[in-house]
Amino acid sequence: MPHHRLAPLSFLLLPLGLYLVWVIYPTFATMVLAFTNWDGISPSYDWVGFTNFERLFGDRVFWRSLANNVRWVAVFVTIPLALGLSLALALNRNVRFDRFLKIAYYLPMVLAFVVIGLVWAWIYHPRQGLINSTLFSLLSVAQSLGFDVNPAAARRIGWLGDPNLAMWSIIAAAPWQHVGYVMILYLAGLKTVNTELLDAGQVDGASPWQLFRYVTFPQLAPVTTIVLVITVIQSLRAFDLVYVMTRGGPFNSSNVLANFMYIEAFMNYNMGYGAAIAVVLFLISVGFIAIYLYRVVQQEER
């Protein structure tokens, strides 16, 4: 590598400038705004110290949103990971029509969250939706067979309207989109798995489960780390689905931090308060960003 002074600058000036202005500066500026009472409209604002944070930690909506984010992460990490890995293992060998099967699982991945949110909002709709319609038809069949059931009851289930169901209904739609991504990464990872070790294990009489547990899975560890980090980051970014399907309602039962922040900042014009929520979200993310960076650093030293 040559040692220049100006050449790197001439290449970096534009991209770096843009990045500093639109990504790096805003990150720090939000941290400053979090200590002000800016309303988004007034040209000036006052320094209010930790007031926003004090209010935030006493805000029930905040704790509710945080708890929902934790639920989201818990579901988002386990289900897509287990399904994606299983599918990758199943489709890693010669399977007929594997292209069709893969496409089926990949498809939701290219859809906008808004599209997914609307399609699932339809699926959950009490009268016109897929789920209640299916329940209604099943109950009708049962009724005609002489069972004492009331099909009309199926149409009263408000998947998105019931505070106890709304959050889980939204979360259930998310893995539909995410499984394909996890599967792609594991399929790529499986290509790098040392087959000699697998053969040796087979000769030694290891069971398929043992082979997976002690040979394949450990070799997939780098992929697993990436999948976990990306999945958590994605969960914390969860906004579109919630905003489209319920706006966080009913009664904040399906609120998440990203949506809470947007509503406070852009609907209620509490920009300073919104900034404080963003800072908390950022602090939660930092740990996971650090894990990712650590891996990148390791890769550099190899």
């Binding site: 290449f11 990045y19 805003p26 939000t30 290219v110 906008a112 038809s137 900042a265």
Partner: protein
């Protein structure tokens, strides 16, 4: 055992396709029909009327054009600029090299909320609020993190001697970048462009933050307007959603290989 696995994989695949297939069937029916008889009934009539309604009265035609107006320049911008930053990070030794690289990587994982308010403020001050340019600039800038990350790691696999021979010939760095760097990056461009197309095209949050005029909205934001316009007419809303998905679906089917390559490049070579 093997057979059971296959049956499960097939059942799962059909289950996975079901929401889209079901949405498509619903989009061909009328709201009255679906409300009265439910999904599992023989449609009384089949028509593409919902699509033409969503397309014209729901203005999906206009919104889709906006999406392209935002997406295409963003992609050109981010690929051009990230090829420059990646080239600089791979080709030159300077003090902040590693630091800048890590900064680009960390930036791509930021929660969007930490950027929203200052980005909104900035676009207001620059007079860019409620213009497509604001979105194009922001998408370009934000995606520089991911693109630089991918392209830098891609370029690093190129043997240094390729560049050295050009230096000996007395070519300037910009000439080397254009004649040797860019052609080498080209295969990665295809993968990145495919992936970024779906990401930028599918963006909703930034369109909410940076635009207010309905006539400027991309299709994602337009769909929420459509939902308000045709309250409770789910066959029509679903039709609009499916129309909005057509471009990304087409790109995916046409360029599937690149799409997958882009995803794995970003994640496994990191």
């Amino acid at each position: 055992m093997r057979r059971l696995v296959l049956i499960l994989v097939w059942a799962g695949a059909l289950l996975w396709l079901f929401p889209i297939a079901g949405a498509f069937v619903t989009s061909l029916r009328t709201q009255q029909d679906i409300s009265a008889n439910g999904f599992w009934s023989v449609p009384r009539e089949i028509s593409f009327d919902n699509y033409s309604q969503a397309w014209e009265r729901g203005r999906v035609n206009r919104y889709l054009v906006n999406s392209f107006i935002i997406t295409i320049p963003s992609i050109i911008g981010m690929l051009t600029l990230s090829s420059m930053s990646a080239y600089a990070l791979v080709r030159f030794r300077f003090r902040l090299n590693r630091f800048l690289y890590f900064m680009f990587v960390a930036g791509m994982l930021l929660p969007f909320q930490i950027l929203m308010l200052p980005v909104f403020q900035l676009s207001n001050r620059l007079g860019l609020y409620d213009t497509h340019l604001a979105l194009i600039l922001f998408h370009t800038a934000f995606q520089l993190g991911f693109c630089t990350f991918v392209l830098r790691n891609f370029l690093r696999t190129v043997p240094v001697s390729l560049f050295e021979s050009a230096v000996i010939d007395g070519a300037s760095e910009w000439t080397i970048y254009r004649r040797i760097g860019l052609p080498l990056i080209l295969p990665a461009f295809a993968a990145l462009a495919t992936l970024e197309f779906t990401w930028v095209f599918n963006d909703y949050l930034w369109a909410l933050v940076l635009l207010s005029s309905d006539r400027l909205k991309p299709v994602t934001a337009g769909l929420s307007t459509l939902m308000g316009q045709f309250v409770n007419d789910w066959p029509l809303i679903v039709s609009g959603s499916l129309l909005a998905a057509v471009p990304t679906l087409l790109v995916f089917f046409a360029l599937q290989r690149y799409f997958i390559e882009g995803l794995t490049m970003g994640a496994t070579k990191g």
